[in-house]
Amino acid sequence: MSCTIRIRIQPQSFDIEEESKRLTQGRSDVGALVTFTGYCRDEGGTLAALTLEHYPGMAEAEIGRIAEEAAARWPLSGLTAIHRHGRILPGEPIVLVAAASSHRQAAFEAASFLMDYLKTRAPFWKKEERVGDRDGDWVQTKATDDAAAGRWQKP
């Protein structure tokens, strides 16, 4: 199955409905569409904003490699990944992953794989801005993210 891969790195927000349509409109072979949206949360009211830094050029290339890997592993008709950079406020979306397939299991697994690898391989870094002008820190890597990506490794 040939899979249409769309990757965008952008400062502006995105429309989940529109991106979903792109993967399904005019097609009768799609049986499952899984979308995941990651949002900026306020951490119990303490977070004022996140600033996302990225490595232009490598960010697109790396997500492209991750998406190609997903398309090789599962029978997908389309795969979309959108990641924002710049200053993002609580409640705003940061990342979108959408996977379309004939079957739900492939769509669920591909979307999950893409997110797990995106979090640990794509060159993005989050800096926190705290409420009340308290200096924020760079978000630390979580061991649970590495473990989540590790479970997809082939023996």
């Binding site: 990651g38 996302l52 830094e53 990225h54 490595y55 050029g57 490598m58 290339a61 790396e62 990641h83 940061i94 990342v95 997110m115 995106l118 979090k119 640990t120 391989r121 794509a122 060159p123 993005f124 870094w125 989050k126 800096k127 760079w138 978000v139 630390q140 890597t141 993210d145």
Partner: protein
């Protein structure tokens, strides 16, 4: 050897620059040797590379291990572990 270096997140902040073009001595042949050489430049570099094991590297937009050879590299980037998504 002339290299384009790129720094991101707190590596960039500690060095105080997003990147630079540098002539690297001939005996610096791996990513690991480049880190050691940079760490000796001044306090900022020393702070950025104080814990070399946690620094990630990329050569020409691809992740590499610290034992990777620099031969043929154009752009080498250093950054902390990624926290996107």
């Amino acid at each position: 050897m002339s290299l384009e270096l790129r720094y991101f997140a707190w590596v960039r902040e500690r060095i105080g620059s997003p990147g630079e073009s540098l002539d690297v001595p001939g005996d610096v042949t791996t990513v690991s040797e480049l880190i050691s050489w940079l760490a000796n430049k001044d306090e900022g570099y020393a702070a950025a590379f104080a814990e070399p094991d946690i620094i990630r590297a990329a050569i020409d937009h691809e992740h590499v291990e610290h034992d990777a050879a620099l031969a043929g590299a154009k752009e080498v980037a250093f950054f902390p572990p990624m926290t996107g998504g």
